[in-house]
Symmetry: C2
Subunit: 279 residues, 2 copies
Protein backbone atom coordinates (compact mmCIF):
# COMPACT_ATOMS: atom_id res chain seq x y z
CA UNK A 1 0.00 0.00 0.00
CA UNK A 2 1.25 3.48 -0.86
CA UNK A 3 1.29 5.76 2.18
CA UNK A 4 1.04 9.49 2.63
CA UNK A 5 3.00 10.77 5.65
CA UNK A 6 1.84 14.03 7.15
CA UNK A 7 4.08 16.00 9.46
CA UNK A 8 2.01 18.99 10.43
CA UNK A 9 3.94 22.06 11.60
CA UNK A 10 5.15 21.70 15.20
CA UNK A 11 3.20 18.46 15.70
CA UNK A 12 5.09 15.82 17.69
CA UNK A 13 3.49 12.98 15.75
CA UNK A 14 3.23 12.15 12.06
CA UNK A 15 0.04 10.77 10.58
CA UNK A 16 0.24 8.01 8.00
CA UNK A 17 -2.65 7.47 5.58
CA UNK A 18 -3.22 4.66 3.11
CA UNK A 19 -3.36 5.98 -0.45
CA UNK A 20 -5.71 4.10 -2.77
CA UNK A 21 -5.17 6.55 -5.58
CA UNK A 22 -3.33 9.79 -6.21
CA UNK A 23 -5.95 11.87 -8.00
CA UNK A 24 -3.97 15.06 -8.45
CA UNK A 25 -0.50 16.44 -7.79
CA UNK A 26 0.41 19.96 -8.74
CA UNK A 27 2.08 23.15 -7.63
CA UNK A 28 0.55 26.61 -7.51
CA UNK A 29 2.45 29.86 -6.96
CA UNK A 30 1.89 29.37 -3.24
CA UNK A 31 1.93 25.70 -2.40
CA UNK A 32 1.93 22.08 -3.43
CA UNK A 33 -1.56 20.72 -3.95
CA UNK A 34 -2.43 17.04 -3.76
CA UNK A 35 -5.67 15.08 -3.80
CA UNK A 36 -5.59 11.44 -2.73
CA UNK A 37 -8.21 8.82 -2.04
CA UNK A 38 -8.13 6.98 1.29
CA UNK A 39 -10.31 3.92 2.00
CA UNK A 40 -11.87 5.46 5.14
CA UNK A 41 -11.84 9.21 4.56
CA UNK A 42 -12.56 9.21 0.83
CA UNK A 43 -10.95 12.07 -1.07
CA UNK A 44 -8.47 14.18 0.88
CA UNK A 45 -7.15 17.63 0.00
CA UNK A 46 -3.52 18.13 1.00
CA UNK A 47 -1.62 21.42 0.83
CA UNK A 48 2.15 21.44 1.40
CA UNK A 49 1.87 17.92 2.85
CA UNK A 50 -0.75 18.93 5.43
CA UNK A 51 -4.28 17.49 5.30
CA UNK A 52 -6.81 20.30 4.83
CA UNK A 53 -10.01 18.35 4.51
CA UNK A 54 -11.44 14.93 3.87
CA UNK A 55 -14.78 14.10 2.24
CA UNK A 56 -15.79 12.16 5.33
CA UNK A 57 -15.16 14.58 8.16
CA UNK A 58 -14.86 18.09 6.65
CA UNK A 59 -18.27 19.02 8.10
CA UNK A 60 -16.92 19.02 11.67
CA UNK A 61 -14.47 21.80 10.93
CA UNK A 62 -16.57 23.80 8.47
CA UNK A 63 -19.70 23.74 10.62
CA UNK A 64 -17.87 24.60 13.81
CA UNK A 65 -15.89 27.40 12.14
CA UNK A 66 -18.92 29.02 10.49
CA UNK A 67 -21.98 28.51 12.68
CA UNK A 68 -20.85 29.76 16.07
CA UNK A 69 -20.43 33.38 14.94
CA UNK A 70 -23.39 33.16 12.56
CA UNK A 71 -25.63 32.00 15.42
CA UNK A 72 -24.15 34.44 17.93
CA UNK A 73 -24.75 37.38 15.58
CA UNK A 74 -28.47 38.26 15.59
CA UNK A 75 -28.84 38.61 11.83
CA UNK A 76 -25.77 38.10 9.65
CA UNK A 77 -26.18 39.67 6.20
CA UNK A 78 -22.69 40.38 4.94
CA UNK A 79 -19.83 37.96 5.59
CA UNK A 80 -16.20 37.81 4.54
CA UNK A 81 -14.55 34.40 4.30
CA UNK A 82 -10.78 34.77 4.32
CA UNK A 83 -9.05 31.71 2.88
CA UNK A 84 -10.97 28.45 2.76
CA UNK A 85 -10.47 28.07 -0.99
CA UNK A 86 -12.18 24.69 -0.89
CA UNK A 87 -15.49 26.53 -0.40
CA UNK A 88 -16.62 24.57 2.67
CA UNK A 89 -17.16 27.66 4.82
CA UNK A 90 -18.92 29.51 1.98
CA UNK A 91 -21.31 26.57 1.66
CA UNK A 92 -22.13 26.78 5.38
CA UNK A 93 -22.59 30.58 5.30
CA UNK A 94 -25.08 30.37 2.44
CA UNK A 95 -27.39 28.18 4.55
CA UNK A 96 -28.76 31.33 6.21
CA UNK A 97 -31.65 33.08 4.49
CA UNK A 98 -30.44 36.45 5.80
CA UNK A 99 -27.16 36.34 3.87
CA UNK A 100 -26.95 38.98 1.13
CA UNK A 101 -23.25 39.03 0.35
CA UNK A 102 -20.27 36.75 0.85
CA UNK A 103 -16.80 38.03 0.03
CA UNK A 104 -14.79 34.90 -0.65
CA UNK A 105 -11.16 36.01 -0.45
CA UNK A 106 -8.63 33.36 -1.39
CA UNK A 107 -5.00 33.99 -2.21
CA UNK A 108 -4.56 30.81 -4.26
CA UNK A 109 -6.98 30.44 -7.17
CA UNK A 110 -5.67 26.92 -7.81
CA UNK A 111 -7.25 25.68 -4.57
CA UNK A 112 -10.68 26.87 -5.74
CA UNK A 113 -10.17 25.17 -9.11
CA UNK A 114 -9.03 21.89 -7.62
CA UNK A 115 -11.90 21.90 -5.15
CA UNK A 116 -14.46 22.52 -7.90
CA UNK A 117 -13.01 19.54 -9.74
CA UNK A 118 -12.54 17.03 -6.92
CA UNK A 119 -14.80 18.25 -4.10
CA UNK A 120 -17.97 19.53 -5.79
CA UNK A 121 -20.01 18.93 -2.62
CA UNK A 122 -17.65 21.14 -0.63
CA UNK A 123 -17.37 23.94 -3.22
CA UNK A 124 -21.07 23.81 -4.08
CA UNK A 125 -21.73 27.40 -3.01
CA UNK A 126 -18.96 29.27 -4.79
CA UNK A 127 -21.06 30.10 -7.89
CA UNK A 128 -24.00 31.39 -5.84
CA UNK A 129 -24.86 34.95 -6.99
CA UNK A 130 -24.40 36.22 -3.44
CA UNK A 131 -20.73 35.16 -3.52
CA UNK A 132 -18.05 37.55 -4.78
CA UNK A 133 -14.74 35.79 -5.31
CA UNK A 134 -11.62 37.90 -4.76
CA UNK A 135 -8.30 36.30 -5.60
CA UNK A 136 -5.96 38.19 -3.29
CA UNK A 137 -4.25 38.19 0.10
CA UNK A 138 -6.92 38.28 2.79
CA UNK A 139 -4.91 40.76 4.83
CA UNK A 140 -4.86 43.16 1.84
CA UNK A 141 -8.57 42.76 1.26
CA UNK A 142 -9.32 43.63 4.87
CA UNK A 143 -6.79 46.50 5.05
CA UNK A 144 -8.19 48.18 1.93
CA UNK A 145 -11.85 48.17 2.91
CA UNK A 146 -13.17 51.59 3.83
CA UNK A 147 -16.59 50.70 5.23
CA UNK A 148 -17.69 48.95 8.41
CA UNK A 149 -20.37 46.87 6.78
CA UNK A 150 -19.42 43.24 7.42
CA UNK A 151 -21.25 41.27 10.11
CA UNK A 152 -18.81 38.37 10.36
CA UNK A 153 -15.25 37.76 9.23
CA UNK A 154 -14.48 34.06 9.13
CA UNK A 155 -10.80 33.24 8.74
CA UNK A 156 -10.16 29.78 7.34
CA UNK A 157 -6.40 29.74 6.92
CA UNK A 158 -3.84 26.99 6.64
CA UNK A 159 -1.49 26.44 9.60
CA UNK A 160 -0.06 29.56 11.20
CA UNK A 161 3.22 29.55 9.28
CA UNK A 162 4.42 30.92 5.94
CA UNK A 163 2.05 33.19 4.00
CA UNK A 164 -0.83 32.55 6.42
CA UNK A 165 1.03 34.37 9.24
CA UNK A 166 -0.28 37.75 8.07
CA UNK A 167 -3.74 36.61 9.19
CA UNK A 168 -2.72 36.46 12.85
CA UNK A 169 -1.07 39.84 13.48
CA UNK A 170 -2.45 42.68 15.67
CA UNK A 171 -2.53 44.89 12.54
CA UNK A 172 -4.73 42.41 10.73
CA UNK A 173 -7.15 42.02 13.64
CA UNK A 174 -7.39 45.81 14.01
CA UNK A 175 -8.27 46.10 10.34
CA UNK A 176 -10.84 43.32 10.75
CA UNK A 177 -12.46 45.28 13.56
CA UNK A 178 -12.68 48.36 11.33
CA UNK A 179 -14.61 46.37 8.72
CA UNK A 180 -17.16 45.03 11.17
CA UNK A 181 -20.63 46.34 11.94
CA UNK A 182 -21.53 47.23 15.53
CA UNK A 183 -22.41 43.69 16.51
CA UNK A 184 -19.80 42.18 14.22
CA UNK A 185 -17.73 39.16 15.09
CA UNK A 186 -14.70 37.37 13.74
CA UNK A 187 -13.45 33.84 14.18
CA UNK A 188 -10.27 32.02 13.33
CA UNK A 189 -8.82 28.61 14.09
CA UNK A 190 -5.77 28.71 16.37
CA UNK A 191 -4.36 25.18 16.07
CA UNK A 192 -4.51 22.41 18.68
CA UNK A 193 -4.96 22.97 22.40
CA UNK A 194 -2.93 19.81 22.98
CA UNK A 195 0.05 20.67 20.81
CA UNK A 196 0.00 24.48 20.49
CA UNK A 197 -1.35 25.66 23.83
CA UNK A 198 0.95 28.69 23.97
CA UNK A 199 -0.06 29.79 20.48
CA UNK A 200 -3.73 29.45 21.43
CA UNK A 201 -3.14 31.73 24.43
CA UNK A 202 -1.07 34.25 22.47
CA UNK A 203 -3.75 34.70 19.82
CA UNK A 204 -6.35 35.24 22.56
CA UNK A 205 -4.05 37.92 24.01
CA UNK A 206 -3.54 39.62 20.65
CA UNK A 207 -7.31 39.68 20.04
CA UNK A 208 -7.97 41.08 23.52
CA UNK A 209 -5.87 44.13 22.67
CA UNK A 210 -8.24 44.85 19.78
CA UNK A 211 -11.71 43.57 20.68
CA UNK A 212 -13.82 44.10 23.84
CA UNK A 213 -15.00 40.46 23.91
CA UNK A 214 -12.72 37.54 23.08
CA UNK A 215 -13.40 33.88 23.75
CA UNK A 216 -12.39 30.36 22.85
CA UNK A 217 -14.24 27.25 21.78
CA UNK A 218 -13.02 23.87 20.67
CA UNK A 219 -14.02 20.95 18.50
CA UNK A 220 -12.32 17.61 17.95
CA UNK A 221 -11.17 17.17 14.37
CA UNK A 222 -9.72 13.70 13.79
CA UNK A 223 -7.72 14.70 10.72
CA UNK A 224 -5.90 17.64 12.30
CA UNK A 225 -3.02 16.43 14.47
CA UNK A 226 -3.63 17.22 18.11
CA UNK A 227 -7.34 17.00 17.31
CA UNK A 228 -8.52 19.23 20.15
CA UNK A 229 -8.91 22.17 17.78
CA UNK A 230 -9.18 25.69 19.19
CA UNK A 231 -11.19 28.52 17.63
CA UNK A 232 -10.66 32.13 18.72
CA UNK A 233 -13.73 34.29 18.45
CA UNK A 234 -13.87 38.06 18.95
CA UNK A 235 -16.88 40.33 19.12
CA UNK A 236 -17.53 44.07 18.96
CA UNK A 237 -20.85 43.50 20.74
CA UNK A 238 -22.26 40.67 22.80
CA UNK A 239 -20.74 37.42 23.98
CA UNK A 240 -20.32 34.82 21.25
CA UNK A 241 -21.40 32.17 23.80
CA UNK A 242 -24.98 33.35 23.43
CA UNK A 243 -27.18 32.17 20.56
CA UNK A 244 -29.09 35.21 19.17
CA UNK A 245 -29.89 33.90 15.70
CA UNK A 246 -32.56 31.20 15.80
CA UNK A 247 -32.24 30.33 12.09
CA UNK A 248 -32.91 26.67 11.51
CA UNK A 249 -30.26 25.31 9.18
CA UNK A 250 -29.33 21.75 8.20
CA UNK A 251 -26.15 20.51 9.91
CA UNK A 252 -24.59 17.18 10.77
CA UNK A 253 -22.95 18.16 14.06
CA UNK A 254 -23.51 21.81 15.01
CA UNK A 255 -26.62 22.68 17.02
CA UNK A 256 -27.55 25.43 19.47
CA UNK A 257 -26.75 22.96 22.24
CA UNK A 258 -23.34 22.17 20.76
CA UNK A 259 -22.75 25.93 20.43
CA UNK A 260 -22.83 26.59 24.16
CA UNK A 261 -21.08 23.37 25.02
CA UNK A 262 -18.18 24.01 22.64
CA UNK A 263 -16.85 26.92 24.70
CA UNK A 264 -14.26 26.11 27.36
CA UNK A 265 -15.74 26.15 30.85
CA UNK A 266 -14.94 29.53 32.45
CA UNK A 267 -12.56 28.19 35.12
CA UNK A 268 -10.59 26.15 32.62
CA UNK A 269 -10.39 29.14 30.30
CA UNK A 270 -9.10 31.36 33.09
CA UNK A 271 -6.46 28.82 34.09
CA UNK A 272 -5.40 28.52 30.46
CA UNK A 273 -5.03 32.29 30.10
CA UNK A 274 -3.04 32.52 33.35
CA UNK A 275 -0.77 29.82 31.91
CA UNK A 276 -1.63 27.58 34.85
CA UNK A 277 -2.41 24.60 32.63
CA UNK A 278 0.53 22.47 31.64
CA UNK A 279 0.78 19.51 29.37
CA UNK B 1 15.62 8.93 13.09
CA UNK B 2 14.14 5.59 14.15
CA UNK B 3 10.34 5.63 14.01
CA UNK B 4 7.67 3.69 15.84
CA UNK B 5 4.54 3.13 13.73
CA UNK B 6 1.32 2.54 15.61
CA UNK B 7 -1.66 1.06 13.88
CA UNK B 8 -4.33 0.95 16.56
CA UNK B 9 -7.13 -1.58 16.04
CA UNK B 10 -9.71 -0.35 13.51
CA UNK B 11 -8.10 3.10 13.29
CA UNK B 12 -7.99 4.51 9.76
CA UNK B 13 -4.72 6.33 10.42
CA UNK B 14 -1.33 5.24 11.67
CA UNK B 15 0.66 7.36 14.08
CA UNK B 16 4.39 7.68 13.62
CA UNK B 17 6.57 8.65 16.58
CA UNK B 18 10.25 9.55 16.64
CA UNK B 19 12.21 7.12 18.80
CA UNK B 20 15.17 8.62 20.65
CA UNK B 21 15.84 5.42 22.52
CA UNK B 22 14.34 1.96 22.89
CA UNK B 23 14.44 1.45 26.64
CA UNK B 24 12.81 -1.96 26.80
CA UNK B 25 11.47 -4.65 24.49
CA UNK B 26 10.04 -7.89 25.83
CA UNK B 27 7.20 -10.32 25.62
CA UNK B 28 4.94 -11.47 28.45
CA UNK B 29 2.49 -14.37 28.29
CA UNK B 30 -0.11 -11.92 27.04
CA UNK B 31 1.50 -9.29 24.89
CA UNK B 32 4.59 -7.55 23.58
CA UNK B 33 5.78 -4.79 25.86
CA UNK B 34 7.93 -1.89 24.70
CA UNK B 35 9.15 1.31 26.31
CA UNK B 36 10.56 4.03 24.07
CA UNK B 37 11.64 7.61 24.57
CA UNK B 38 10.16 10.30 22.32
CA UNK B 39 11.50 13.90 22.27
CA UNK B 40 8.07 15.42 22.99
CA UNK B 41 6.18 12.83 25.01
CA UNK B 42 9.09 11.46 27.05
CA UNK B 43 8.83 7.78 27.92
CA UNK B 44 6.00 5.88 26.22
CA UNK B 45 4.56 2.48 27.19
CA UNK B 46 3.52 0.41 24.19
CA UNK B 47 1.61 -2.91 24.35
CA UNK B 48 1.21 -4.97 21.17
CA UNK B 49 2.26 -1.91 19.15
CA UNK B 50 -0.43 0.33 20.66
CA UNK B 51 0.54 3.34 22.79
CA UNK B 52 -0.88 2.95 26.31
CA UNK B 53 0.56 6.00 28.00
CA UNK B 54 3.17 8.71 27.72
CA UNK B 55 4.91 10.52 30.55
CA UNK B 56 3.70 13.83 29.22
CA UNK B 57 -0.02 13.31 28.76
CA UNK B 58 -1.02 10.23 30.81
CA UNK B 59 -2.77 12.47 33.35
CA UNK B 60 -5.55 13.35 30.89
CA UNK B 61 -6.67 9.76 30.58
CA UNK B 62 -6.02 8.64 34.17
CA UNK B 63 -7.71 11.66 35.74
CA UNK B 64 -10.73 11.51 33.46
CA UNK B 65 -11.13 7.77 33.92
CA UNK B 66 -10.90 7.84 37.73
CA UNK B 67 -12.32 11.12 39.00
CA UNK B 68 -15.74 11.28 37.37
CA UNK B 69 -17.10 8.24 39.23
CA UNK B 70 -15.14 9.07 42.38
CA UNK B 71 -16.69 12.55 42.46
CA UNK B 72 -20.16 11.34 41.47
CA UNK B 73 -20.15 8.75 44.28
CA UNK B 74 -20.76 10.52 47.61
CA UNK B 75 -18.06 8.73 49.56
CA UNK B 76 -15.98 6.09 47.77
CA UNK B 77 -14.28 3.70 50.20
CA UNK B 78 -13.68 0.50 48.31
CA UNK B 79 -12.64 0.54 44.67
CA UNK B 80 -11.68 -2.15 42.16
CA UNK B 81 -9.35 -1.18 39.34
CA UNK B 82 -9.53 -3.75 36.54
CA UNK B 83 -6.49 -3.62 34.31
CA UNK B 84 -4.39 -0.47 34.28
CA UNK B 85 -1.22 -2.36 35.19
CA UNK B 86 0.79 0.85 34.87
CA UNK B 87 -0.77 2.01 38.15
CA UNK B 88 -1.97 5.39 36.88
CA UNK B 89 -5.58 4.86 37.93
CA UNK B 90 -4.54 3.45 41.32
CA UNK B 91 -2.48 6.60 41.90
CA UNK B 92 -5.54 8.76 41.19
CA UNK B 93 -7.86 6.67 43.40
CA UNK B 94 -5.51 6.96 46.36
CA UNK B 95 -5.81 10.76 46.30
CA UNK B 96 -9.13 10.47 48.22
CA UNK B 97 -8.90 10.36 52.01
CA UNK B 98 -12.01 8.17 52.16
CA UNK B 99 -10.38 5.26 50.31
CA UNK B 100 -9.88 2.18 52.50
CA UNK B 101 -9.26 -0.52 49.92
CA UNK B 102 -8.19 -0.74 46.31
CA UNK B 103 -8.30 -4.07 44.53
CA UNK B 104 -5.79 -3.72 41.72
CA UNK B 105 -6.60 -6.56 39.33
CA UNK B 106 -4.17 -6.95 36.44
CA UNK B 107 -3.89 -9.99 34.22
CA UNK B 108 -0.30 -9.30 33.17
CA UNK B 109 2.19 -8.96 36.03
CA UNK B 110 4.90 -7.93 33.58
CA UNK B 111 3.11 -4.63 32.93
CA UNK B 112 3.25 -3.78 36.64
CA UNK B 113 6.96 -4.68 36.78
CA UNK B 114 7.84 -2.64 33.69
CA UNK B 115 5.87 0.32 34.97
CA UNK B 116 7.60 0.21 38.38
CA UNK B 117 10.93 0.26 36.54
CA UNK B 118 10.28 2.89 33.86
CA UNK B 119 7.29 4.89 35.09
CA UNK B 120 7.77 5.28 38.86
CA UNK B 121 5.64 8.44 38.91
CA UNK B 122 2.74 6.57 37.34
CA UNK B 123 3.01 3.42 39.47
CA UNK B 124 3.72 5.38 42.66
CA UNK B 125 0.64 4.08 44.48
CA UNK B 126 0.91 0.35 43.93
CA UNK B 127 2.78 -0.34 47.18
CA UNK B 128 0.35 1.66 49.29
CA UNK B 129 -0.99 -0.54 52.12
CA UNK B 130 -4.56 0.08 50.97
CA UNK B 131 -3.78 -1.58 47.63
CA UNK B 132 -4.25 -5.33 47.19
CA UNK B 133 -2.71 -6.55 43.95
CA UNK B 134 -4.41 -9.52 42.29
CA UNK B 135 -2.72 -11.00 39.26
CA UNK B 136 -5.67 -12.51 37.42
CA UNK B 137 -8.30 -11.95 34.74
CA UNK B 138 -10.48 -9.05 35.84
CA UNK B 139 -13.62 -10.85 34.62
CA UNK B 140 -12.77 -13.80 36.91
CA UNK B 141 -12.10 -11.52 39.86
CA UNK B 142 -15.49 -9.86 39.44
CA UNK B 143 -17.38 -13.12 38.75
CA UNK B 144 -16.02 -14.78 41.89
CA UNK B 145 -16.81 -12.01 44.37
CA UNK B 146 -19.70 -12.87 46.68
CA UNK B 147 -20.28 -9.53 48.37
CA UNK B 148 -21.70 -6.23 47.13
CA UNK B 149 -19.16 -4.06 48.89
CA UNK B 150 -17.37 -2.11 46.15
CA UNK B 151 -18.26 1.54 45.57
CA UNK B 152 -16.62 1.95 42.18
CA UNK B 153 -15.31 -0.44 39.56
CA UNK B 154 -12.90 1.31 37.20
CA UNK B 155 -12.04 -0.65 34.09
CA UNK B 156 -8.79 0.40 32.48
CA UNK B 157 -8.39 -2.10 29.68
CA UNK B 158 -6.43 -2.12 26.46
CA UNK B 159 -8.37 -1.83 23.19
CA UNK B 160 -11.54 -3.88 22.95
CA UNK B 161 -10.00 -6.83 21.12
CA UNK B 162 -8.23 -10.04 22.16
CA UNK B 163 -8.16 -10.90 25.86
CA UNK B 164 -9.70 -7.55 26.87
CA UNK B 165 -13.00 -8.46 25.16
CA UNK B 166 -14.21 -10.31 28.29
CA UNK B 167 -14.41 -6.90 30.00
CA UNK B 168 -17.16 -5.67 27.68
CA UNK B 169 -19.75 -8.50 27.77
CA UNK B 170 -23.26 -8.34 29.33
CA UNK B 171 -22.20 -11.15 31.69
CA UNK B 172 -19.26 -9.13 32.94
CA UNK B 173 -21.30 -5.98 33.49
CA UNK B 174 -23.99 -7.99 35.35
CA UNK B 175 -21.30 -9.40 37.62
CA UNK B 176 -19.91 -5.88 38.14
CA UNK B 177 -23.36 -4.73 39.23
CA UNK B 178 -23.54 -7.56 41.78
CA UNK B 179 -20.28 -6.40 43.37
CA UNK B 180 -21.39 -2.80 43.75
CA UNK B 181 -22.84 -1.09 46.80
CA UNK B 182 -26.24 0.65 46.50
CA UNK B 183 -24.81 3.86 45.11
CA UNK B 184 -22.04 2.06 43.27
CA UNK B 185 -20.80 3.07 39.82
CA UNK B 186 -18.58 1.64 37.15
CA UNK B 187 -16.71 3.24 34.30
CA UNK B 188 -14.86 1.99 31.27
CA UNK B 189 -13.32 3.56 28.19
CA UNK B 190 -15.12 2.69 24.96
CA UNK B 191 -12.67 3.84 22.27
CA UNK B 192 -12.99 6.91 20.03
CA UNK B 193 -16.25 8.62 19.19
CA UNK B 194 -14.72 9.60 15.86
CA UNK B 195 -13.51 6.16 14.80
CA UNK B 196 -15.65 3.69 16.79
CA UNK B 197 -19.00 5.42 17.10
CA UNK B 198 -20.98 2.19 16.68
CA UNK B 199 -18.96 0.45 19.39
CA UNK B 200 -19.52 3.40 21.73
CA UNK B 201 -23.28 3.08 21.16
CA UNK B 202 -23.29 -0.71 21.53
CA UNK B 203 -21.53 -0.60 24.89
CA UNK B 204 -24.04 2.00 26.09
CA UNK B 205 -26.83 -0.37 25.02
CA UNK B 206 -25.25 -3.36 26.77
CA UNK B 207 -24.86 -1.36 29.98
CA UNK B 208 -28.45 -0.12 29.79
CA UNK B 209 -29.66 -3.72 29.93
CA UNK B 210 -27.90 -4.08 33.28
CA UNK B 211 -27.85 -0.70 35.03
CA UNK B 212 -30.67 1.79 35.67
CA UNK B 213 -28.47 4.79 34.83
CA UNK B 214 -25.97 4.80 31.98
CA UNK B 215 -24.21 7.80 30.50
CA UNK B 216 -21.30 8.91 28.37
CA UNK B 217 -18.57 11.46 28.74
CA UNK B 218 -15.57 12.26 26.60
CA UNK B 219 -12.06 13.64 26.85
CA UNK B 220 -9.52 14.39 24.15
CA UNK B 221 -6.43 12.21 24.44
CA UNK B 222 -3.80 13.18 21.85
CA UNK B 223 -2.00 9.83 22.00
CA UNK B 224 -5.05 7.63 21.36
CA UNK B 225 -5.96 7.63 17.66
CA UNK B 226 -9.31 9.29 17.09
CA UNK B 227 -8.57 11.36 20.21
CA UNK B 228 -12.20 12.07 21.08
CA UNK B 229 -12.19 9.37 23.72
CA UNK B 230 -15.49 8.04 25.07
CA UNK B 231 -16.06 6.79 28.61
CA UNK B 232 -19.15 4.75 29.49
CA UNK B 233 -20.34 5.19 33.06
CA UNK B 234 -23.08 3.19 34.77
CA UNK B 235 -24.67 3.75 38.15
CA UNK B 236 -26.88 1.76 40.51
CA UNK B 237 -27.97 5.03 42.11
CA UNK B 238 -27.85 8.66 41.06
CA UNK B 239 -26.71 10.28 37.85
CA UNK B 240 -22.95 10.33 37.35
CA UNK B 241 -23.29 13.85 35.91
CA UNK B 242 -23.80 15.17 39.42
CA UNK B 243 -20.85 15.89 41.72
CA UNK B 244 -21.67 14.53 45.21
CA UNK B 245 -18.15 14.16 46.58
CA UNK B 246 -16.58 17.55 47.36
CA UNK B 247 -13.15 16.10 48.14
CA UNK B 248 -10.41 18.50 47.14
CA UNK B 249 -7.70 16.57 45.33
CA UNK B 250 -4.71 17.71 43.29
CA UNK B 251 -5.22 17.33 39.54
CA UNK B 252 -3.80 18.82 36.37
CA UNK B 253 -6.95 18.78 34.26
CA UNK B 254 -9.99 17.34 36.06
CA UNK B 255 -12.15 19.70 38.12
CA UNK B 256 -15.79 19.75 39.19
CA UNK B 257 -16.40 22.12 36.29
CA UNK B 258 -14.70 19.78 33.84
CA UNK B 259 -16.78 16.92 35.31
CA UNK B 260 -20.11 18.36 34.21
CA UNK B 261 -18.76 19.68 30.95
CA UNK B 262 -17.27 16.32 29.93
CA UNK B 263 -20.68 14.69 29.48
CA UNK B 264 -22.21 14.87 26.02
CA UNK B 265 -24.99 17.45 25.81
CA UNK B 266 -28.34 15.63 26.17
CA UNK B 267 -29.57 16.26 22.63
CA UNK B 268 -26.31 15.09 21.08
CA UNK B 269 -26.36 12.00 23.29
CA UNK B 270 -29.91 11.16 22.22
CA UNK B 271 -29.07 11.58 18.54
CA UNK B 272 -26.03 9.35 19.01
CA UNK B 273 -28.09 6.63 20.67
CA UNK B 274 -30.76 6.80 17.94
CA UNK B 275 -27.92 6.38 15.43
CA UNK B 276 -28.83 9.71 13.86
CA UNK B 277 -25.25 10.96 13.93
CA UNK B 278 -23.11 9.98 11.00
CA UNK B 279 -19.47 10.53 10.27
Amino acid sequence: MIKFTERAPYAPVEYLYDVEEILYRGKSSFQEIMVIRNPYYGKMLILDDVVQLTERDEFFYHEMLAHVVLHAHPEPRRVAVIGGGDGGVVREVLKYGTIEKVYFVEIDEEVIKISRRFFPEVSSGVDDPRVEIRIMDGADFIAKRKTADIDAVIIDSTDIIGFARTLFTPEFFSAVKSCLTDQGMCVTHTESLHFHRDMVVEIQEVLKKVFPVVDLYTATIATYPGNWWAFAVASKGGSPREVRNRASIPTKFYSEEVHGHAFLPRGLYEKLMKRELEW
